[in-house]
């Protein structure tokens, strides 16, 4: 699949020996570091309190890492589901082409005959 090769290459090395290749981990940590630096710096520039700025920076790291991680993972999961649906659709198209189950040969339903469980008309 298209995204998998990019995921395999975008890893990072932790503590010099551990290769972390978890998808979205590198981006999450980088975004976390960036968010931490920005929030800590802004807090320090506005208050001149060093220790509290470090605390705020760390909170920014947690929130930015979590947010980036969650967004990346949900996007990736959605993409994988779409890829799987496409693959199944292609497989079914090849398997059912020309048969009575082929959706392209089935007649569309009359909108006036929609039942209570059918989606409403646009």
């Amino acid at each position: 699949m298209a995204g998998e090769e990019e995921d395999n290459k975008k890893g990072f090395r932790m503590l010099g020996i551990l290769d972390v290749k978890t998808p979205c981990a590198r981006e999450a940590v980088l975004h976390g570091a960036g968010g931490s630096a920005i929030t800590g710096l802004i807090h320090f520039l506005t208050t001149s309190r060093v220790r509290r700025s470090f605390d705020v920076g760390f909170a920014g790291f947690i929130l930015a890492t979590l947010g980036s991680w969650w967004y990346c993972r949900t996007s990736r999961a959605r993409l994988l589901v779409q890829q799987r649906l496409l693959q199944d659709g292609l497989k079914n198209k090849v398997a059912f082409e020309g048969t009575s189950w082929d959706p392209e040969t089935q007649t569309p339903r009359d909108p006036d005959q929609l039942g209570p469980r059918d989606p409403p008309r646009p």
């Binding site: 979205c24 760390f58 993972r73």
Partner: protein, 230 residues
């Protein structure tokens, strides 16, 4: 399959294992953030000059460190329970295979259509061909059709064994007198290795499991060949 100095899981070969990998990544990120938080608090505690000998309680911090762990546990438990129930689903299997544990080999029975059964012994190290894997290869592989739901019934003839294939996300105890059921779908063709996962005697480490996923027509020709040889 496994490789030297491996730290993580093997690449997933079934949808269930893919879900397990995703959940593991999710839980590991939470654990990583908690560890970072604890480390930061330790450093902050050690480096502070502030001391208060007379503090008795603090409602705010008590609320935070009660509610936050509960929220974290819920965030871990919900996907965990989802996968737990997902692993128990068995949707119209195309094939049922019986895997029986013995001391010290596995036997497989394909009895849906014909009476096919064979034993699977480990290939001894001195008999390995170049390129084969030590302690993992078996003389007869359990061949299954790829992308087909397979039901596998696991039991044992003598002592406890356990049928495990990490790439498929399967581990099920083989208990004498009991039939355990699980199901899997192989997402891609290939050879997937596992080892007995319940201590069962002297050669517990020498009764591997080898699952080979092949296209359906290859599976049909393999089963015909096995029936002729039987």
């Amino acid at each position: 399959m496994a490789h030297p100095s491996q730290l993580g899981f093997q690449d997933a070969a079934s949808p269930v294992m893919e879900e397990l990998l995703h959940f593991h990544d999710h839980a590991l990120m939470i654990v990583f953030l908690i560890s970072t938080l604890v480390l930061y608090i330790i450093v902050a505690m050690v480096s502070t000059k502030l001391t208060n000998k007379y503090i008795l309680d603090s409602q705010e911090i008590e609320i935070i460190w009660t509610v936050l762990p509960a929220v974290i546990l819920i965030l871990i438990a919900l996907p965990s329970l989802r996968i737990l129930y997902l692993m128990d689903e068995i949707n119209d299997p195309h094939l049922t295979i019986k895997a029986m544990g013995h001391q010290w080999y596995w036997s497989y029975e394909y009895t849906d259509y014909e009476d096919l059964g064979f034993d699977s012994y480990m290939i001894p190290t001195q008999d390995l061909a170049p390129g084969q894997f030590r302690l993992l290869e078996a003389d007869h592989r359990m061949v299954v059709p790829v992308e087909s739901p397979i039901r596998i019934l696991i039991s044992a003839e003598d002592v406890l064994h356990s049928w495990a294939v990490p790439a498929l996300g399967i581990k099920m105890d083989a208990v004498p007198g009991r039939l355990n059921q699980t199901a899997f779908i192989t997402s891609r063709p290939g050879v997937f290795y596992g080892q007995c996962s319940e201590i069962c005697g002297a050669n517990h480490s020498f009764m591997p499991i080898v699952v080979e996923a092949v296209p359906l027509e290859h599976f049909e020709s393999w089963s015909s060949l096995m029936l002729e040889d039987a």
